[in-house]
């Protein structure tokens, strides 16, 4: 009898106080085989969430701090001459792990970002003559700090599209902050190790592929995506480019993964609605007016989503 997603959630919540939607997003992305872009101010447990998740699934965890002088080989790996054998040996980089935390991904220039993003897409890397597959599961959790963007290299829309979800990690509520002090004030809380196995994760991924998605829900997803591409009068001023068909495919996959997370064998509208904003936030191109008029992107997206009647 394999462990269920609820066991993993409980294990991660041992160290992460509150942030239920973030924990849910991380676990859903893991089941959906997708990568996550985490945005939020410093000190809201983004790194701790990634580390806790890696330890709870008994997988390998690597953290890459992106800096302006980072090179692609620092991520992917390189070939080193071995004097004993007289030949080159392949040294895989930190990307060869189950959970990779790409910290402050926008601090490195485009060629380094591309090395990571290509790996995310292909799930393998070529080092010299050798092509090595990444371990399964393989999830990249990339962080960006929206408050401090001096000297950063913004991710283009096409690159952001490779992330399944864009989760916003906000400050905790007052009660949660008190709970954090209670839990962590006495000393370091070690994340739960091996709450589930990597085989369990692979089983959930297979389950997600078999989840039933009713045709009317497929239409619901497509209508939602198209609503971002055909905005009406007022909203049209704020949208430069709507979400792509890839967004529809990914949203369907994420909804199936959430059904497994919720112990269901079928998708319901709530699965789609709860993931629509984090799945679309980074895929819709907004005009300068959004920044100049201080429009809340989340509210704007909600207005697109709610104009589609629930099936």
């Amino acid at each position: 009898m394999s462990a269920r997603p609820g066991t993993l959630r409980a294990a991660v919540e041992q160290t992460i106080v509150g942030q239920r939607s973030v924990v849910e997003g991380l676990l859903v992305a893991l089941i959906a085989n997708g990568h996550v872009l985490l945005e939020g101010p410093p000190g809201v447990a983004k790194t701790l969430a990634a580390r806790s998740l890696a330890q709870a699934i008994g997988g390998t965890f690597r953290r890459i701090q992106f800096t302006p002088d980072l090179l692609p080989s620092d991520i992917v790996g390189t070939r080193v001459f071995d004097q004993r054998t007289g030949s080159f040996a392949t040294v895989p980089g930190p990307i060869f792990a189950n959970i990779v935390l790409a910290d402050e991904i926008n601090r490195s220039p485009a060629k380094v970002q591309s090395a990571l993003l290509e790996g995310m897409q292909e799930r393998q890397a070529t080092i010299g003559p050798e092509t090595l597959p990444f371990p399964d599961p393989f999830v990249v959790l990339a962080t960006m700090n929206p408050l401090d963007d001096d000297g950063t290299y913004a991710l283009p829309l096409a690159q952001r599209d490779r992330f399944a979800l864009n989760l916003y990690v906000d400050y905790p509520s007052r009660e949660e902050e008190v709970a954090i002090l209670e839990r962590f004030g006495a000393g370091e809380v070690r994340p739960v190790r091996d709450a589930v196995s990597l085989d369990d994760i692979r089983d959930w991924k297979r389950e997600a592929e078999r989840v039933h998605l009713e045709p009317r829900l497929r239409s619901y997803i497509v209508d939602m995506i198209r609503a971002t591409r055909e905005p009406d009068g007022t909203r049209g001023r704020y949208v430069e480019r709507g979400a792509s068909p890839r967004a529809a495919l990914l949203l369907a996959g994420l909804a199936k993964a959430r059904a497994v997370y919720e112990e269901r064998t079928y998708v319901v509208p709530d699965d789609i609605r709860s993931l629509a904003v984090p799945a679309l936030r980074h895929r819709v191109g907004f005009t300068y007016r959004v920044a100049s008029e201080k429009i809340d992107v989340e509210e704007l997206l909600e207005s697109f989503i709610t104009q589609v009647p629930t099936p």
């Binding site: 039933h212 009713e214 009317r216 829900l217 009406d232 009068g233 007022t234 064998t265 079928y266 998708v267 319901v268 509208p269 709530d270 609605r273 709860s274 989503i305 709610t306 104009q307 589609v308 009647p309 629930t310 099936p311």
Partner: protein, 293 residues
């Protein structure tokens, strides 16, 4: 007999109170439907404009029920909410086309709401109704000769209309100086007074649930399960864009039967084929509990 009537009235009052709680709090001061054409050839698109004005700022007018149309087909729907100095304006434009020559009717659009200016009593605010004429499409039923005459006539009419427009423009240019000198005035269009009447009794919604349940029991198909889900959502006062999770947050925990039925309906509508019949059985049991409660 007296006892049955007493209990029935108690149930009615309880449902009415519950329904009133779920209604949006709105004071509707205008609700009208207008058409940009009184008569239109069949198949030619024209527009119906529904205008709602609520006294509340940022009012949620998504529960507006669109009119039923007869002999018209709806081609498109565009809606816009605009904040106004004295509340909120909501404009929905339906693009429609006539189906066949004859009369087309548009029933009133309405919105059920509890009016805060009238002690939060539930009201149904209804718009006017429209009656339009659909004519035969030009050239469809005509003899080739008649068709040619029709076309020539149309060209002549266009030329005359063009000349009239040119005349008006020339006249306007001559008067331009005088017009520029005048102070600009803004004309406020009169707003149609909405017709108010008590909101539809919730018993109707319960009857719709019963009817949908009977249909499902007879057919045991997914489409009927979905229809029953829709009736249960309507009974619970769900908005168009509301999902089950959001709806359950609003329904009190003690309404176990209704909450159970909504969950069962969700399952029966979206479950895979292999589990559909079991889910329908569960749904029918759950609805029985709602009806008997």
């Amino acid at each position: 007999m007296f006892r049955i009537a007493f209990f029935a009235s108690l149930i009615f009052l309880a449902i009415a109170a519950a329904s009133a709680q779920t209604l949006p709090r709105l004071t509707i001061t205008a609700l009208s439907i207008t058409s940009d054409r009184v008569a239109a050839p069949e198949g030619v698109a024209f527009h119906l404009r529904i205008h709602v004005h609520a006294k509340q700022k940022n009012a949620d007018l998504s529960s507006l029920v669109l009119p039923d149309v007869v002999n018209l087909t709806i081609l498109g729907d565009e809606k816009r909410t605009a904040p106004a100095s004295d509340g909120t304006d909501y404009i929905e434009i339906l693009t429609v086309a006539g189906v066949s020559p004859g009369e087309a009717t548009v029933s009133p659009a309405y919105i059920d709401a509890s009016d805060p200016t009238r002690a939060d009593k539930p009201f149904r605010f209804s718009s006017n109704r429209l009656r339009l004429r659909i004519t035969a499409a030009p050239g469809t039923d005509l003899h080739p000769l008649e068709n040619a005459v029709w076309k020539t006539g149309r060209i002549a009419l266009t030329v005359v209309a063009g000349l009239i427009v040119l005349g008006i423009v020339a006249f306007a240019l001559v008067r331009a100086g005088a017009v520029m000198a005048r102070r600009k005035t803004y004309v406020t269009l009169p707003q149609a007074r909405p017709v108010t009447q008590p909101a539809a009794a919730p018993v109707d919604r319960m009857a719709a649930v019963r009817h949908a349940a009977l249909q499902l029991a007879a057919s045991r198909a997914r489409a009927e399960a979905a229809a029953l889900r829709g009736a249960l959502f309507a009974l619970s006062g769900a908005r168009r864009d509301e999902t089950l999770a959001a709806l359950l947050e609003r329904i009190p925990a003690d309404k176990r039967a209704l909450r159970g039925a909504l969950r069962a309906a969700e399952r029966a509508t979206f479950v895979n084929e292999a589990h559909l019949q079991g889910a329908i059985d569960e749904l029918l049991d759950a609805v029985r509990a709602v009806v008997s409660a």
